[in-house]
């Protein structure tokens, strides 16, 4: 299925939750989904016979623009050999996204990484800890506005 067909199918089922299809972009076309619908949309994408997105290739956190963060899902179907990109855009001051851990188990570590690096918060995640930085690290290092802490456990951090 092409991106437009997938978008129309999703729109007919979820309507409000599916916000936009972007095709005039230099990267693969993507669909913007609202943060409180992503779990249901994911389940539909995985289980609908004509879609069968059985693989979450990648889940990444993005510092989207001045006020927003994004959670980006790259999906692939081994059955139909088609793919789609989904984006969930949330404000920086309340970056709450539904977890898709129960749809694709591989999302568990990916969501932990997106939380660690970007500060995205995933609702209903089974183990919402940092994954790379130490547990007591301050801030989320891949944010554009990130300021590194001066000391960590008595060790000076900047050069």
């Amino acid at each position: 299925m092409e991106a437009a067909e997938i978008f129309n199918l999703l729109k007919s089922v979820f309507n409000e939750g599916i916000m936009e299809l972007k095709t005039d972009v230099p990267v693969a076309p993507f669909i913007i989904v609202s943060a409180d619908k992503i779990n249901a949309v994911s389940l539909f994408l995985r289980d609908e016979d004509t879609l069968q997105f059985d693989s979450l290739s990648c889940l990444s956190g993005v510092d989207y623009d001045k006020d927003n963060l994004a959670s980006v899902y790259h999906l692939y179907s081994f059955v139909h050999n088609h793919k789609i990109t989904i984006k969930v855009i949330v404000p920086k001051d309340n970056p709450l996204v539904q977890s898709v851990y129960d749809v694709w188990a591989t999302a568990e570590w990916h969501e932990r990484e997106a939380f660690d690096m970007m500060g995205l918060k995933y609702e209903n995640h089974p183990d919402p800890r940092r994954i790379l930085c130490p547990d007591d690290w301050e801030g989320h290092p891949l944010r554009k506005d990130y300021k590194v802490q001066e000391f960590y456990k008595g060790m000076k951090v900047p050069y």
Binding site: P134, K153, M155, Y159
Partner: protein, 171 residues
């Protein structure tokens, strides 16, 4: 031969002449620098170079440098690669578990000063000498095995210059 003549009768029975006279310091230092057991761990790409040095071509064994699995067996620790802040706390702990006298060889730019991560590497310790005292720095990114061997020979030189018997040098 004056000293040999004054040795008591028990030693004089070695008539073949295989007697060497030396100082306690020289004997102790010779044995220490000939068996510098190293801590068995590597951190990044420098560790690959360290493994190459340990392998048959460069053959660290001939200097008596053998990797040991416990810090309590070790005399020297090669900091072979990028030290993240997360790892730094562990390295400090391992260092504290080593018995004195102990030596640190900092291998490569990362552990010397942060290397390519000096500016944007929020997670990297900018030099292992911020947490433990370093005896020899080996520059390079990563250093070739020859450079690492040279560094280890420098550690041997340092050991040779120290005194265990008199405890004049703090080791």
């Amino acid at each position: 031969m004056g000293i040999l003549n004054k040795l008591d009768s028990r030693i004089e029975q070695f008539e073949s002449g295989n007697i060497i006279i030396t100082t306690a310091d020289k004997l102790l230092n010779w044995s220490r620098l000939s068996s510098m057991w190293q801590m068995f761990f590597g951190l990044a790409c420098c560790a690959i170079e360290m493994m190459a040095t340990s392998a048959s071509h460069y053959d660290l064994d001939r200097f008596g440098i053998i990797p040991r699995p416990s810090p309590r067996h070790c005399d020297i620790i090669l900091i072979s690669g990028t030290v993240t802040l997360k790892m730094a706390t562990r390295i400090k702990r391992l260092y504290d578990q080593m018995p004195s006298p102990k030596y640190i060889l900092s291998m490569g730019s990362c552990s010397n000063c942060g290397g390519p991560y000096w500016e944007h590497g929020y997670h990297v310790l900018k030099g292992i000498d911020r947490i433990i005292p370093v005896d020899v720095y080996v520059p390079g990114c990563p250093p070739r095995p020859e450079a690492l061997l040279e560094g280890l020979l420098k550690v041997q030189e340092k050991i040779r210059s120290q005194s265990m018997a008199k405890q004049t040098n703090k080791v």
